[in-house]
């Protein structure tokens, strides 16, 4: 039985779309700095890449706070249960019009693949980008009357890791956007992320799947 359900809270949507915008903005300015194309000019690209990362860092600080205070962090606990079924669904089932192997609920809104990928994003990909990015930008910095330097011999390693991370994030965004079309209707997931409301199947045993709440 499908029922319109309020899945994504205001902050969650704000965080999601701001982060999406910032990552795209960072990708565009970042690859301009990388020398891949000319758009806003190197000078402006550097400046705005730097502003955007501060915006993203603040956003992430709030997002971390939100995840822990709401208990939403539990949604990212990885599980191997149904992971094979989920992979098989994307490889074969989806073409046959088979039902989703896992059921989305307010308390379990990510399938096992999403859990792995989003957790990897949160604790690996984004931190790596932020750390290498900060080293990249601030390995020389003014302090007092002088310019101080972190004793980093060469920028090259940091820059290469940062570039790899950027490519990986873009690939993620492409796959992520595509996979939003695999819901009930192709636009259902995007609509849900904008409005917060999504049609979810409700069973009687819904309550049992609920993770413990404090």
């Amino acid at each position: 039985m499908a029922k319109l359900t309020y899945v994504y809270k205001v902050f969650e949507r704000f965080w999601h779309w701001s982060q999406a915008f910032l990552i795209l903005f960072l990708a565009v300015t970042g690859f301009e700095i990388h020398g891949s194309f000319n758009l806003m000019g190197f000078d402006a690209a550097v400046r705005w890449h730097n502003y955007a990362i501060w915006a993203l860092v603040w956003l992430i600080v709030f997002a971390i706070f939100w995840h822990f205070t709401t208990g939403e962090w539990r949604q990212y606990i990885p599980t191997t249960k149904f992971i094979k079924a989920q992979v098989e669904y994307y490889i074969t089932g989806i073409f046959r019009g088979a039902p989703h192997p896992t059921k989305k609920t307010v308390y379990n809104k990510f399938n096992p693949l999403q859990r792995f990928v989003y957790l990897g994003l949160k604790i690996f990909a984004i931190p790596v980008q932020i750390i290498t990015g900060f080293l990249y930008y601030y390995y020389k910095y003014p302090s007092g009357g002088e310019i101080q330097s972190i004793d980093m011999v060469n920028l090259e390693l940091v820059a290469i890791i940062h570039t790899i991370g950027a490519f990986a994030l873009i690939a993620f965004v492409i796959a992520h956007v595509y996979l939003t079309t695999t819901g009930h209707k192709p636009t259902a997931a995007i609509k849900a992320m904008i409005t917060g409301w999504e049609e979810l199947d409700h069973d009687e045993d819904d309550v049992e799947k609920r993770p413990e709440e404090s």
Binding site: V10, R13, F14, W17, S18, F21, F25, I33, H34, G35, M40, G41, F42, D43, A44, V46, R47, W48, Y51, A52, A55, Y90, I94, F95, R96, G97, Y136, K140, Y141, P142, G145, E146, I147, S149, V153, N154, L155, E156, A159, I160, T163, I164, A166, F167, A168, I170, A171, I174, A175, Y178, T181, I194, T195, G196, W197
Partner: protein, 527 residues
């Protein structure tokens, strides 16, 4: 659905605000008061305390320039002692060079990449010595009365030193013989004209050697030199090359070796002169000059290539000259072939303030021969990227002793080995090496030589300074030859880029394929 409007607007508006700020954002400007304070400081010049025209000592009929010097020293009793140790007097400095130890180097004994050196030609080269009488027979560097005070302190612009073998003496008679009473009545701190009297004309003519020191600076515009601009601060050399007790700040690394007493931009502008932090951070690795002197030889051309191997060609037994279409001398029998350039983009090297110099006794193993070597690389915390004029040329070389050969260039009389008189390499090399006290095998060939001259003058206005993409660009970066470090915008790991692009294309292709297949299969199911 009312409650969804607000988050939706927030979602849409916030990125738009961000974009709007990005578009409207202007680079920060430096506080104009900082430069204004510097202007006031430079403009504040003390008035002369004395009128030298009223001194009885300076009214007498001077027969020789030495009498003038003695008159100077009779009041300025200690100044002679100061100059005794000055490089303008000694033409050498004590230096410590890694691998050589303590050495005494300067114009006195070094080979350069232009007229090659003074050895054997002192009486003509030493027109620019701040003294009287240094010729081929040597010079007593302890005799203060032979110091030339006037070449630096004449403020009338009428004092001349004679050319053609006068060993630093002024003309005795003729239109250029100095009027000592007029000149001594108008002495003062050295002006641009005084410094330029020698430094603008080094290597035999205006701007030939340095490329950024030339007579155009006497009367110039903001575009050419922002400090010497006649309509601006009209600064003189000594405003930066501050001097106390005849010790000047500044050194020319064609002859100097060590990093002390240098005249720097930061002595006035500080180490954080930019409003933008990122630019200040660049100064850790980039010299001010690199961005702020985008081109040199902005008015008159400078010699960038001097090939001695073609010298001594004669027409009907006589030396000759040829000019190129712009009136620059492209060939001289006495000097060989020359290339000139104007508005030259410098080359760039790492430089930590320490330099080495080829000595005539060095055994050469690497070509082109480095007449001088500027030390430093990316990993050297003291090194910065510097703009340099690399003057290239060809000089005679002993293939058996592996030494650059020193020719005697000039003599008053023919038949004494002077190349510019006799046009005979063999006799002038024989004589030159005899004077240098070094053996030579009797054979010679010409090898390529390079000399590195850091550029510090002709500072451009800030709006003409280099921008980010002059260096941070994949193609045609000004720093494309400095490859010992990673520079954003210029460098990348090609493998990472290829794999990354394949990853993105693969993902795109994958989702397109997957999506198409879904649509096709859904249609089939519906039929």
């Amino acid at each position: 659905m009312k409650n969804k409007l607000i988050p939706f607007l927030a979602i849409v508006l916030i990125p738009q605000i961000f974009i709007a700020i990005a578009i409207l954002d202007k680079p920060k400007q430096m506080n104009p008061e900082v430069l204004e304070a510097l202007r006031v400081e430079v403009a504040n010049k003390p008035k002369k305390a004395v009128d030298h025209g009223k001194f009885a000592e300076l009214q007498k009929d001077f027969k020789t320039p030495q009498e003038v010097t003695q008159a100077c020293l009779s009041c300025h009793t200690e100044r002679g002692d100061e100059l005794l140790n000055n490089h303008h007097w000694l033409w050498e400095r004590e230096a410590f060079i890694e691998g050589r130890g303590v050495v005494y180097l300067g114009k006195k004994n070094l080979i350069n990449n232009f007229c090659t050196g003074i050895g054997g030609s002192e009486s003509t080269c030493n027109k620019c010595h701040a003294g009287y009488g240094w010729d081929e027979n040597g010079f007593d560097f302890t005799q203060q009365h032979n110091m030339d005070c006037l070449v630096c302190h004449d403020n009338t612009r009428t004092y001349e030193k004679a050319s053609g073998g006068a060993a630093g003496y002024p003309p005795v008679d003729g239109p250029f013989a100095p009027d000592y009473n007029f000149i001594t009545a108008n002495v003062g701190m050295p002006t641009k004209y005084n410094c330029g009297y020698c430094h603008f004309y080094s290597a035999g003519g205006n701007n030939i050697k340095h490329g950024h020191l030339e007579e155009a600076l006497l009367n110039t515009t903001r575009d050419v030199d922002v400090h010497m601009n006649r309509e601006g601060m009209d600064m003189s050399c000594t405003d930066c090359h501050k001097t106390q007790n005849h010790v000047m700040l500044g050194r020319y690394y064609g002859t100097a070796s060590n990093d002390y007493n240098r005249a720097t931009c930061t002595q006035c502008h500080g180490v954080k002169p930019h409003a933008v932090g990122k630019l200040n951070e660049h100064t850790v690795k980039v010299a001010c000059q690199t961005c702020h002197i985008p081109t040199y030889a902005k008015v008159n051309p400078t010699k960038i290539y001097w090939d001695w191997s073609t010298a001594c060609d004669l027409q009907d037994g006589r030396p000759y000259e040829m000019m190129d279409s712009t009136g620059r001398i492209s060939y001289q029998s006495i000097k060989g072939t020359a290339y000139w350039e104007s508005n030259v983009e410098p080359e760039y090297v790492w430089f930590n303030g320490q330099a080495d110099h080829m000595l005539a006794s060095d055994s050469i193993t690497e070509f082109p021969v480095k007449i001088n070597t500027l030390f430093g690389d990316y990993y050297d915390p003291k090194a910065q990227i510097w703009p340099v004029k690399i003057h290239r040329g060809k000089q005679p070389f002993d293939p058996n002793y592996h030494r650059v050969l020193k020719a005697k260039l000039w003599d008053k009389e023919p038949g004494k080995g002077g190349l510019w008189v006799d046009f005979n390499w063999e006799t002038s090399l024989t004589e030159g090496m005899r004077i240098a006290g070094l053996p030579w095998s009797g054979e010679w060939e010409f090898v390529e030589t390079e000399m590195y001259l850091p550029i510090s003058h002709m500072v451009s206005p800030k709006e003409m300074a280099l921008g980010c993409t002059d260096c941070h660009t994949r193609e045609g970066s000004r720093l494309e030859n400095l490859t010992d470090f990673y520079m954003p915008g210029r460098d990348r790991n090609a493998t990472v880029d290829i794999i990354g692009i394949l990853l993105i294309l693969g993902t795109l292709g994958g989702v397109l394929l997957h999506g198409t297949l879904r649509i096709v299969m859904a249609r089939k199911r519906n039929q």
